[in-house]
């Protein structure tokens, strides 16, 4: 017991040794932080880790008049639905439920998207009809070049509710 006390006393006297020990401990912490930083950077999904998926993000859906009014077409590869409303406008809806991420099928009989997981429903524009889903279905950017409908799947656009400016109209209308 008294031995220990003496030892501590020697250290706390601010001797050169205690100073060096503190430096070593400090360096140890720096090394630890560096390791954590490198590990997080290594693990965090960045561009380098996801390549093949990112490669072709713009999907050509086809000529605008191929899609009948008031219809929903599933694009499995792009994981979205191309919706044509009855006024001729287009919307690209993500098929991922905004509640917990299940895939929502289009139930044409009910004219609704019905989530099988916790039975959220969405109308043809992706707006929530019944919760628990908290937000309207996410959308992707739609653009029409030379009457061909294209969807950019690189970036999902989150929205709380449906608004008319989400709709894209072909030029002829």
């Amino acid at each position: 017991m008294s031995d220990k006390k003496e030892n501590q006393h020697a250290l706390s006297r601010g001797s050169r040794r205690s100073f060096l020990v503190k430096i070593w401990i400090g360096l140890g912490f720096v090394a630890l932080l560096e390791f954590i930083g490198v590990a997080t950077a290594f693990l965090f999904p960045g561009k380098r880790r996801v390549t093949a998926d990112n490669f072709k993000t713009v999907i050509e859906a086809g000529p605008a008049d191929k899609f009948p009014l008031d219809s929903v077409t599933a694009f499995v590869r792009g994981k979205f639905y191309l919706v044509r409303l009855d006024d001729g406008g287009f919307l690209a809806l993500s098929r991922k439920c905004t509640h917990l991420g299940c895939t929502v099928p289009w139930v044409s009989k009910e004219k609704k998207f019905v989530c099988p997981c916790h039975s959220s429903t969405f109308d043809i524009r992706g707006a929530v009809v019944s919760p628990p889903a908290p937000r309207a279905l996410d959308i992707y950017h739609v653009f029409i070049e030379n009457t061909v409908v294209k969807v950019d799947t690189a970036k999902k656009i989150k929205r709380t509710e449906f608004r008319s400016e989400h709709i894209v109209y072909p030029e002829s209308v």
């Binding site: 997080t40 693990l43 996801v50 994981k79 991922k96 895939t103 099988p116 997981c117």
Partner: protein, 462 residues
Amino acid sequence: MTQHEVAPKKLSVFQRIRYSVFPGTQRPVKDQRGYRRFFNSLILHFRPRTVPDRTLRLTLSWGLGGMAVVLIFLLIGTGVLLKFVYEPFPGKAYDSILHLQRDVLFGQLIRNIHHWSANLILIVVFLHFLRVYFTGAFHPPRQFNWVIGLGLFFTVLLSNFTGYLLPWDQLAFWAVTICAGMLEYIPGVGLWLQKLIQGGPAVGSATLSNFYAIHTAILPALVITLMPLHFWRVRKAGGLVIPGAPGEIKGTRGESVPAIPNLILREVVVALVLLACILVFSVLFNAPLESKANPGLSPNPTKAPWYFLGIQEMLMHFHPFFSLFLIPILMMTALLGLPYIDYNTDTGGVWFASPTGRKTAVVAALTATVATPVGILADEHFIDLANWADHIPPLITNGLIPFVIIFAASAGFYVLIKRKYAATNNEAIQALFVLFLVAFLILTATGMWFRGPGMKLMLPFY
């Protein structure tokens, strides 16, 4: 050769090898006990030399901690075997499991043992946790071992969850998808965390390789580090808590008996019986495997793994900020803090603290058994606060208001128990513990058996 090493007798090469491995046996062995002494001393490097007689009773520990150890070793053993066949890639994982089951000798059996042990260890560790709590074995000097134990529990839980994804069947894929979806609701870091864990925007190949690395390297390493720490603390505390009748004066350790054979024999018996049960079970029942994961088709209903069903059920009733974030955080903090509360008495070793503790625990269990189903049914069928007051955000109607009501009711319950039964804070806190425990168990059972397609409430088996 130097002069120091002159051997008293010429040894054959086999003898020299044997003595190098078992140095203790080199001394002339007069009778068979020499060998036994050697192996005993090996065992005594891991186990204490003597143990208090009274801690050997099965009704103290129920052998649960020991069972958990056996299961950990079984899981590591079978897991290492599985690693030789399993391929952690979305295109291959499911097929490698099929290959394992169809073409590999004993492949199905090894998978079954791993699967059933993994599920059983959760139950065993949970029961161990309950026995430690209800025998008051978290009082000083065992406070920190309770914390280490919680760390082990958490590690085992995460191991189960990361392993759940690996077969890459429909069950695995969608359970993990919705659990990852839950992360999104954690304020601030949720999205970041979700992306980090998934390794991308959705559950996919990066998620599988993340989970595989965590499941087969990080968590096993963590368990293997935490377990010796746990056992060391048990020994530092002088062994298990000494069981006692209520009101008995503390500090009587009673007689100590040699650990060999008294303790070791019991441990071996528990281990062998457990192994036999698992083996028989695994021969009779195959681990489930559904069809291959299909990201385009969610099964109906899609449920989280069974040990998360309590949380999933809470999610059906509370705003996600409360059910996925605030309530779990509060519960975790409460569990970690339990041994550090300033208790009126030290009830270590007494089941349910005292006769009053037993009575109040029963009252709490009954209260929760009535209140929880009533709450669930009322919320499902009658209460629709969000619609009655639709100008108020759901964070308040589905979150804050029910939360405050339940919080106030629990506080009221605590005060009531304290007053009505003139209870110590040990007993009253235990009553709260039982209240939440039983509520949680009922929520889990509801999620497991009473939720059908579309997550609607319904009776099971119909």
